[in-house]
Every structure is written in structure tokens, then in C-alpha cells.
């Protein structure tokens, strides 16, 4: 485990062609890390995420990925993830191969990955067309009851990236609030990178709190605000107004590209991104 900068962590640990999962279910979405991957111009990534929303809209629109494993892709409560949609519908900015699940199926795949089992098991997908378009969704017969159960291959990302509230100086990470599949995705990965709101002397984790101990964490970087426009419970709320505003920004290729060039590719880091948004009167 190393406490480092986000730039150094991405530069060292995320390679072109890697399978990379940025998890966090509406809460604690690692936006700063995703944008750093855009700045460092990674290509050919297989992106994995239950709910590809604004951060994958940005990464896919920026041309970082050619594969996507997911179970729901949109702008929650607002509408389409326009850049994800454009990639699937029109191959812009490049072809995007999709591997589509339900939430329950994808959660089972992460659980299996964390447990280093070959597949996840669920009573699911019955009567749906998902197994028809995703041949990795298969069936086994229960050896005890004879019931047909659905299986999904384990997800084991090369790198999982999470955002959390805090880490201590030894790199132990504490997460609280809505977790999504953060813990499972983190433990399923070969490498785990975590950005945090703050680094503290003592973690003071409650018993049964979700702690990722430093020996399963590859690197920690302190990036305050790094989940914006999603949120970090105890630090700031979800910027629903930005999610609504994103619909207009992302709808059009030119508007999106201009936004990305100005605020992400045109800034040195996340603090620069926030400062540029504020200077434009559009910052949190």
C-alpha cells in the first residue's frame, strides 16, 4: 500500500487494455479518478460498472473504452447517458462491445470474483431475453434439488477504483452509507485504488463498519470532493442540479467535446477542474 497522488496511482496502475471497474452506486462515485484516466489518455479499456452514468459517459465519450460490462446505463432520474448511447447506437467515438447483466446478476458476479469462485449463482433472468444476447449467462442444475439456476462468470477486474470517506495514515480505508458493490468489486480486483475525502490519524471505525484493510489496498490518494457531482455522505450532497445540467452538455458531440477539452483535458488535476468550473460560474 502506498499513499500517493491520484496522477501517480493512475500512471502506475492503469494500463491500456485493462479491465477497470469504477464502483459506487450513486454514492461515492470516483469521478476524479475517472477524469484522471481521461487526462492520461488510456485506450482500449474494458470498463466495468453496474450503473455507467456520468463518469462512464465522460470516459466512453473521451474514447477510453472499447468494452463495457454493466447492468443499467443512464443518467439516474434524468434520462439517457447520451455518450454511452451514442457509442452503442453509432459507434462514436469508437465501437463499444457490451456485456449486459441485471443488477442481481452483476452483483453475483462480483461476489464470486471476491471469493475467487469461477461463477456466481442466482435464481434470476428467468423468462427474460438477457441470456439470449449475453451468452455468458448460463444455467446449472442444483445437485440437491434439480432446480435450474442462473450462473454468471466471476468478475475479476485488473483494477478496481473506489472513492471513500477516509483512510488513516497506514492506508486502511473506511466506507459508510450506500455501498453498492464497492466492497465486492474491491476484493475481486487484482489491484485496488482508493481516493478519499481525507486522511486521518485514527480511523475510528465502528465495529462491523466497512473497512478495507491496507493489505488489500494498492494505493490511496487524498482527493477532497473527488466524488462530485455524486456525493460523499458526511462531506457533501449529491449535486442533482449538475446531473440535470449534464443532459444538455452530453446530448451533442460538439458540446460534450468542448466541455471535456475545457474542463477535464484542459486542467491539470481535479482541483483545477473544480476551479475551472467555478471560474465559468458552473462550479460547486
Amino acid at each position: 500500500m502506498a499513499i500517493t497522488t491520484l496522477q501517480a496511482a493512475i500512471a502506475e496502475h492503469v494500463r491500456d487494455g485493462d479491465t477497470v471497474a469504477l464502483e459506487g452506486f450513486t454514492h461515492l462515485i470516483p469521478f476524479a479518478a475517472g477524469q484522471e484516466i481521461i487526462r492520461q489518455r488510456r485506450r482500449g479499456l474494458h470498463l466495468v460498472r453496474m450503473t455507467p452514468d456520468l463518469i462512464y459517459d465522460q470516459m466512453i465519450g473521451a474514447g477510453c473504452a472499447d468494452r463495457l460490462t454493466f447492468s443499467w446505463g443512464g443518467n439516474p432520474g434524468v434520462g439517457s447517458a447520451h455518450r454511452v448511447r451514442d457509442a452503442i447506437e453509432n459507434g462514436w467515438p469508437g465501437t463499444l462491445v457490451i456485456n449486459e447483466h441485471s443488477h442481481a446478476g452483476m452483483a453475483a458476479a462480483y461476489v464470486a470474483g471476491a471469493a475467487r469462485l469461477p461463477f456466481g449463482l442466482l435464481r434470476g433472468y428467468r423468462g427474460t431475453d438477457l441470456p439470449r444476447v449475453n451468452p455468458t449467462i448460463r444455467q446449472v442444475t442444483c445437485p440437491y434439488t434439480g432446480e435450474q439456476l442462473a450462473t454468471v462468470p466471476a468478475l475479476n477486474p485488473d483494477v478496481t477504483i473506489l472513492h471513500a470517506q477516509k483512510a488513516d495514515r497506514a492506508g486502511n480505508v473506511l466506507v459508510s452509507g450506500i455501498l453498492g458493490a464497492q466492497k465486492e468489486a474491491g476484493l475481486a480486483a487484482r489491484k485496488l485504488l482508493v481516493t478519499v475525502e481525507e486522511i486521518v490519524d485514527a480511523l475510528e471505525a465502528p465495529m462491523n463498519g466497512i473497512v478495507l484493510p491496507n493489505w488489500v489496498v494498492t494505493a490511496v490518494a487524498c482527493v477532497p470532493g473527488g466524488a462530485w457531482p455524486s456525493y460523499a455522505r458526511g462531506y457533501y450532497s449529491r449535486d442533482n442540479a449538475f446531473y440535470i445540467a449534464w443532459d444538455e452538455i452530453a446530448r451533442d458531440r460538439a458540446t460534450f467535446t468542448a466541455w471535456l477539452d475545457r474542463f477535464v483535458r484542459g486542467t491539470a488535476d481535479f482541483a483545477g477542474f473544480i476551479a475551472a468550473l467555478r471560474a465559468a460560474g458552473a462550479g460547486p
Binding site: E100, A104, A107, Y110, D129, P229, R238, N240, A271
Partner: protein
Amino acid sequence: MSAAARPAWTPDEMMTVTAARMLWNRCVCFVGIGLPSAAANLARLLHAPDIVLIYESGTIGTRPNVLPLSIGDGELADTAAAVVPLPEIFAYWLQGGRVDVGFLGAAQVDRFGNLNSTVIGPYDKPKTRLPGAGGAPEIAMHARQVFVVLKQSPRSFVGEVAFKSSAGFLGGHGARKATGATGAGPQAIITDYGVMKPQAGSEEFELVARYEHVAVADAVAATGWPLQVAADVAVLPPPTQDELAVLRDLHRRTREANSRPVKLPV
């Protein structure tokens, strides 16, 4: 609808109120975002104060003061009885058989209550790529019963969905049961014209109730298949003053919350 007879509420409000009335106190309801979420919270604020609302983000027994924009807004966690990891919500709570009602929306529903939220046109060459199934396939499979809330039009109410994101009665006539699906499937579709329920035997949805200002012919015209009409179509009572006031106040609080600027502490 004639101008003289225009009611003092919108079809959306009537639909939300009607959906809310179908929920009962202490029922365990797995809630989708959007219209289902508005209806479930309206029920909680009116006649079902002890309803247990579960959102797939892992919030159990949540009592939000404003409607969440996303399925994982902080409001849902802050007001929940328990917040659990997402794999657990699907495995232990939904698949474990603890949910009475799955409350879902979709882009399209068909005559057998199958839902499409995945794609319009061919999957490999989509005309419109939709967000995808999310939690719905297993909610539709495991909840003891499912209610669907969806605005009616011939484009959203189609004879057969091109993609089954979530199974209703499949082709009807017992096809769902034969798959071993655990829950009873969709038992009502609440629209902005009225309510449809599955016919015994065929399991095809038919119009069983309409709103006061809606003609049966209009409901049929807004449906993309030859909609069967029950022999005795009930007329649903209009929203009460109380229902409308609580719903409008909920929407007002939600709009206020969504327009409140967020300040990063850095």
C-alpha cells in the same frame, strides 16, 4: 375530454394517486425510481405510514422527506431503518422472498405485462438504446406481485415487446408459471387512463377501471394492441383534496431540494 369537463388535476396526478391507493400499510414494497417512487411515498404519507420501502441501492424501510432523483440519493440512506450492501439486497431480501410488491416502470409494456427497458429495434443495431434492465428482472421474478406504472400510448403499450427485460406472463396461458418464477407476476398496470389487470386463463391485460374524465374508447385508442375491456369497467374516484395537497407538497419540496446549490467544502 371536453374543455368544460376538464378536471382540477392532471392525468399524472390521478395515476400517481391511483397507484398509491393500491399499496397497504405494513406491506413490503421494492420501489423503482420515478413514478413508482412518487406513488409509494404518497402512500406512506397518507394511508400507509408503516409501509416498508426498499430501494435497490440497499436502503430498507426508508422514509424520504423529498423524492429521490436517483435510486441512491443521500436522503434515502439518512432516513432508512437499515442500509445494506447491494449484493445483499438482491440475494437476502428480494430473492429471499421478503418482498410483497415490486413497483416498476418501464419504457414499454405488452399485452402480457412483459417489460422492455433495454432497446427499441434490434439489440445489435438499436434504433434507441434504453438504460437497461437494472434491478427489474429479479424484482419482477421474486416479488409476490408486481404493479407497473406507465403512461399510456400506442408506442409504450405494444402487442409484444421486442425485448423482454423483465418477464410478465411471457406468452400467457401459464407460460410464466412454467418457468418456475417465484412471484405471481404483474397484477395491475396503472396508467394515465385507468387500470388494467390480467384476465384469468389467458393472462392478457384488459381494462378494468378508468378515470372519471376518460372514455373507454380513448383508453383503447391509446393502446397498441386491441385492448379487451372488462364487462363492467369501474370508474375510479377522483383524487381527494388531501391526496392532491400531499402529492403537490411532496413535488414542491422535491423541486426545491433539486434546485438547491451544492457547495463542495474544498
